[in-house]
């Protein structure tokens, strides 16, 4: 930063009176998106809230994709309610893990082919030895998604009988989806 606004420079020391914290990153400040549901999303969210009841820890959503966060232990129960309840989420559209370094978040996108709505279930897992109940008994689509997530993120799925590597080869070490996995300097095979 060579050019600095003189006014800002004059104001800066006043704020810096408090013990200065080292900024974690350079660059423009992070803006956090507003989560606003549209009308269709509101309807689905209301339906979802009534389906899941007390299981919901946290909820919001964008556009027509409402999400709820549930406890990892309750996820199977919540998914079952979504599938069998009036909301009728008959398809497991997508399942993914996001590595937030301090935790791993599982995200399930469910879709209803009868009334064309989607809902998102989230569950937080600990970063060390993450595990969550398998959904293979609810949707067959979960089998491969779970194997893939196991490969790339090391998440365990008790209840899934086949956990052999799907995308990686037999004997691969490490979980390349994790942020801690190096993008280069790995052992070439």
């Amino acid at each position: 930063m060579t050019e600095q606004d003189p006014k800002a420079a004059a104001e800066a020391p006043k704020e810096a009176a408090a013990p200065a914290e080292k900024p974690a990153r350079h660059g423009p400040p992070i803006v956090i998106a507003e989560e606003v549901l549209n009308e269709r999303g509101e309807q689905t969210a209301a339906q979802l809230a009534s389906t899941l009841g007390t299981l919901v820890l946290d909820s919001a959503g964008r556009e027509d994709n409402p999400w709820v966060r549930v406890d990892a232990k309750e996820l199977h129960a919540a998914a079952k309610k979504c599938r069998d309840g009036e909301i009728g989420m008959d398809m497991l559209n997508l399942m993914l893990a996001v590595d937030w370094v301090d935790r791993i978040q599982m995200i399930y996108v469910l879709y209803s082919t009868t009334n064309n709505r989607k809902v998102i279930l989230k569950a937080d897992l600990p970063a060390e030895s993450p595990a969550i109940d398998s959904l293979t008994d609810l949707w067959e689509a979960a089998t491969w998604y779970e194997r893939e997530t196991h490969d790339l993120f090391g998440v365990d799925f008790p209840g899934n009988s086949d956990m052999s590597p799907l995308l990686l080869y037999e004997g691969f070490e490490g979980h390349p989806g994790l942020k801690s996995y190096p993008l280069n300097d790995y052992e070439e095979w």
């Binding site: 998106a33 964008r62 556009e63 559209n93 993914l96 082919t113 995308l167 993008l183």
Partner: protein, 370 residues
């Protein structure tokens, strides 16, 4: 006299692939067979795993588009569209109308090109050598147009978050109109040649049947799901771009067998061609790119958007942490999910039918493995 039950029989494991011409790439399935009957199928994938999702985390949003070209290399533009739509949602911009029309025209043309490739290669799988010539001839015409518009035959990198790279050439509309006439003729030729051929019907009718509820549970989408009688098409059910302004039907099968899955694609070609004609009639003038910064930093948040790929529902889940690179990109690969249903379809059929069933799913290994 001895009967079959007195013999000791052993189930054999038969390895098909990864270098087998009928697997359309590097796909391996281990068939557990009892004589000619397939008892179980164990698919093995991952031979083409390039870590696209992880790579996308170290590229800026604009650069990720090039990766999406390579995810499904048969329908590049449909894949670009899926990503730029997710990007537009997270950046909170909207592409101008003309850009949306251009994208839909190109995406639908690419759908026809992809289906033509499928029709040709599927016929080869079943032993008919001629349709692939017709299919590729028409596909080549479409590729020539793509080259004219985007500058590249296959890896176009043409769509941008907020529009398209450049406006279409001046002769675009007459060129496409002429192209549609030619391609429609070619599709009709393929249709007459193959669809009601006695041998073809014998190989595909009643083979690889999967019913609607099972197909949904397996996560099948696109023609593979619609063949089983479930009318799920993202263009209709969760409309995006300018699809609501177009008048078209979504063909749905009833038996869930290979022929239904094949014929739906044939019908979709006709529908897509008529959609492109409608787009050309409505084609507006105007800007092709929304105002925005080249290296944009979207607000931190998450979006999920999906669109209809020739193979099914292609979803993109995008997580942004507020920097110029996505924090996580997850692709919902339709071929990957369609393959989950392969074992269910193949159990109990013959080895030769396993080829027909796999072919009818129209998988692209680049997308299965990512």
């Amino acid at each position: 006299m001895t009967t079959e039950s007195q013999f000791e029989t052993v189930d054999m494991m038969l390895n098909m692939g990864p270098q087998h011409p009928a697997t359309h790439g590097v796909f391996r399935m281990v068939l557990k067979v009892d004589g000619e009957k397939v008892i179980d199928v164990i698919p093995h994938i991952g031979y083409l795993h390039r870590g696209t999702e992880r790579l996308a985390e170290v590229e800026t949003y604009g650069q990720v588009i090039t990766l999406f070209d390579r995810v499904d290399y048969i329908a590049n533009l449909n894949n670009e569209l899926a990503f730029v739509r997710a990007g537009e949602q997270i950046m909170e911009v909207e592409a101008p109308e003309r850009a949306q029309y251009i994208r839909v025209i190109l995406a639908e043309l690419n759908r026809v090109a992809s289906h033509l490739l499928f029709i040709g290669t599927y016929a080869i799988d079943l032993g008919a050598m001629t349709p692939v010539m017709y299919g590729f001839r028409e596909r080549e015409r479409i590729q020539n147009l793509f080259e004219h518009v985007t500058g590249a035959r296959m890896m176009h990198n043409y769509m941008r978050i907020g529009g398209v790279k450049a406006d279409v050439p001046d002769d675009f509309v007459p060129w496409v109109r002429q192209l549609i006439g030619e391609v429609r003729k070619g599709v009709e030729e393929c249709d007459k040649l193959l669809s009601t051929n006695e041998v073809f019907l014998g190989r595909t009718r009643g083979v690889g049947v999967i019913d609607g509820p099972t197909a949904i549970s397996c996560g099948l989408t696109g023609p593979s799901l619609r063949g089983s009688g479930v009318a799920y098409d993202v263009r209709k059910d969760d409309p995006y771009e300018i699809y609501p302004y177009l008048n078209y039907k979504v063909p749905v099968g009833e038996n869930g067998d290979c022929w239904d899955r094949y014929y739906l694609r044939m019908l979709e070609c006709y529908e897509s061609l008529s959609m492109i004609e409608q787009c050309l009639d409505q084609f507006p003038e105007g800007p092709i790119m929304a105002a925005g910064r080249r290296i944009a930093r979207p607000p931190a948040g998450e979006v999920f958007s999906h669109s209809e790929n020739p193979r099914g529902d292609l979803g993109v889940y995008l997580v942004s942490d507020g920097t110029d690179k996505p924090y996580r990109v997850k692709i919902r690969p339709p071929s990957f999910c369609n393959l989950v249903g392969l074992a269910t379809m193949t159990r109990g059929s013959y080895i030769a039918d396993a080829v027909a069933i796999l072919g009818s799913l129209d998988i692209v290994l680049g997308e299965v493995d990512r």
